[in-house]
């Protein structure tokens, strides 16, 4: 049991939830998304995964919410008019609203500590914007190399490739000796400068003309063309590469032989 939960103050109000999902519905109706801080009111249809995640997070102990309206006893005139920062604590099945500053500051600290958990929720939901929003509040100093790697992997799961690079660069600041972080930083941030010098590619126009006229004849096949001339076609890329290499002495990869598919 958390210390904050043991603390009894006069302004603790018990809030009973008698059905497993009633808590989640309560959450959906009035509170902000635990992982993003965005108002839940915007969600018309409850997402079962999101609700389950919220419920799980609530049951972990003391949680912090910013409500967009006061809870339960607030007169209708006050609702939707103010954002109230409150904490909730659990004792068994009973949820308590906690308003004292100590509990709220503890809850706030827990909220920050749990940032990785919120990243995980956002990544698994494929919610890139929630992921990025939570990423912004994370303090990387003092985090372990495995935390950085975990966060990078979560960024990929969220589809946030740029964020993955950012985490890797933060990792290089605080855990520069980690070989794993070094690899992430290297792969995600190609070091070569942008090259703008002309490169010779044989017959792009001739290839296009050929494809325009003949691509439909090779639907579903791999084809190799060079300067507007068909070098080979095959169902299998392996056999095409073998055939073209043997017949024409082409070494792959080749910038002069275009390999594509018919359509």
């Amino acid at each position: 049991m958390k210390a904050a939960i043991r603390r009894k103050t006069t302004d603790i109000q018990p809030v009973e939830f008698d059905r497993p999902f009633s808590l989640a519905f309560y959450y959906r109706r009035r509170w902000r998304d635990i992982s993003t801080g965005t108002p839940i009111e915007a969600t018309r249809t409850p997402d079962p995964k999101k609700l389950a995640a919220a419920q799980r997070a609530l049951l972990e102990g003391l949680c912090l919410y910013w409500t967009t309206q006061d809870i339960e006893d607030a007169p209708p005139s006050r609702r939707h008019k103010q954002a109230v920062e409150v904490a909730f604590a659990f004792r068994g099945e009973t949820c308590f609203r906690v308003d004292d500053e100590t509990s709220i500051s503890r809850a706030r600290a827990k909220w920050r500590r749990d940032a990785m958990a919120r990243l995980e929720v956002a990544a698994h939901q494929g919610d890139e914007s929630a992921f990025l929003k939570n990423l912004e509040v994370i303090k990387w100093e003092g985090r372990s190399a495995s935390d950085f790697v975990r966060a990078i992997k979560l960024a990929f799961k969220a589809g946030a490739f740029k964020a993955a690079r950012y985490i890797a660069s933060e990792g290089m600041k605080y855990q520069p000796d980690s070989a794993e972080i070094q690899k992430y930083a290297r792969v995600l941030n190609p070091s070569q400068p942008t090259i703008t010098e002309p490169t010779a590619t044989l017959g792009p126009q001739a290839n296009r003309d050929w494809l325009k006229a003949h691509a439909h004849e090779y639907k579903g096949k791999w084809i190799a063309i060079r300067n507007g001339e068909l070098l080979g076609a095959s169902q299998s890329l392996d056999s095409l590469v073998e055939e073209v290499s043997q017949k024409f002495g082409v070494a792959f990869p080749s910038r002069d032989v275009m390999v594509t598919t018919g359509s």
């Binding site: 494929g126 992997k153 740029k162 942008t194 703008t196 002309p198 792009p204 325009k212 890329l237 598919t261």
Partner: protein, 146 residues
């Protein structure tokens, strides 16, 4: 009041001229990926450039040891694959071609990304389109880049 913008591009390339119909709305560009001449869809909705796995294995000469084995979200779906550094070059019909040091994602299975990942790669944003200035003239089907 009218706003006059002047943009300078180093090269331009026709797109969608490679196939029989010019009615297609999908821009297909001639590119060189990992040193291999190929075709690719321009897809600003893709978070990263995606290459067909057989194309990458056979033609791009990528060393699996240099890549990152990851599960990434592509088109809203979690896909297992590898992330690599490689060069991506834009071929110019007029002006100068351009090559960039890019990042590509190679799925373990093309079907995980979609039925259209067959032969053509998808030029996505991360470390590819987000490293350049580009413009698309859809009326004349021309891609401008810098």
């Amino acid at each position: 009041m009218s706003l006059v913008l002047t943009l300078r591009f180093q090269g331009r390339a026709d797109y969608n001229r490679t196939r029989a119909s010019e009615l297609s709305t999908r821009p297909v560009l001639a590119v060189v990926i990992g040193g291999q001449s190929a075709e690719a869809y321009l897809d600003t909705g893709m978070p990263v450039t995606v290459c067909p796995p057989d194309f990458a294995a056979k033609l791009m000469g990528l060393d699996p040891a240099d890549g990152l084995e990851e599960e990434a979200r592509i088109r809203g779906v979690l896909v297992k694959g590898r992330i690599h550094n490689t060069s991506i070059e834009f071929i110019a019909d007029e002006g100068k071609p351009m090559a960039i040091a890019g990042v590509v994602f190679v799925p373990n299975s093309a079907a995980d990304v979609g039925p259209d990942l067959t032969g053509f790669s998808f030029l996505g944003m991360y470390e590819c389109l987000d490293k350049m200035i580009f413009g698309v003239d859809s009326l004349t089907q021309v891609f401008y880049f810098n």
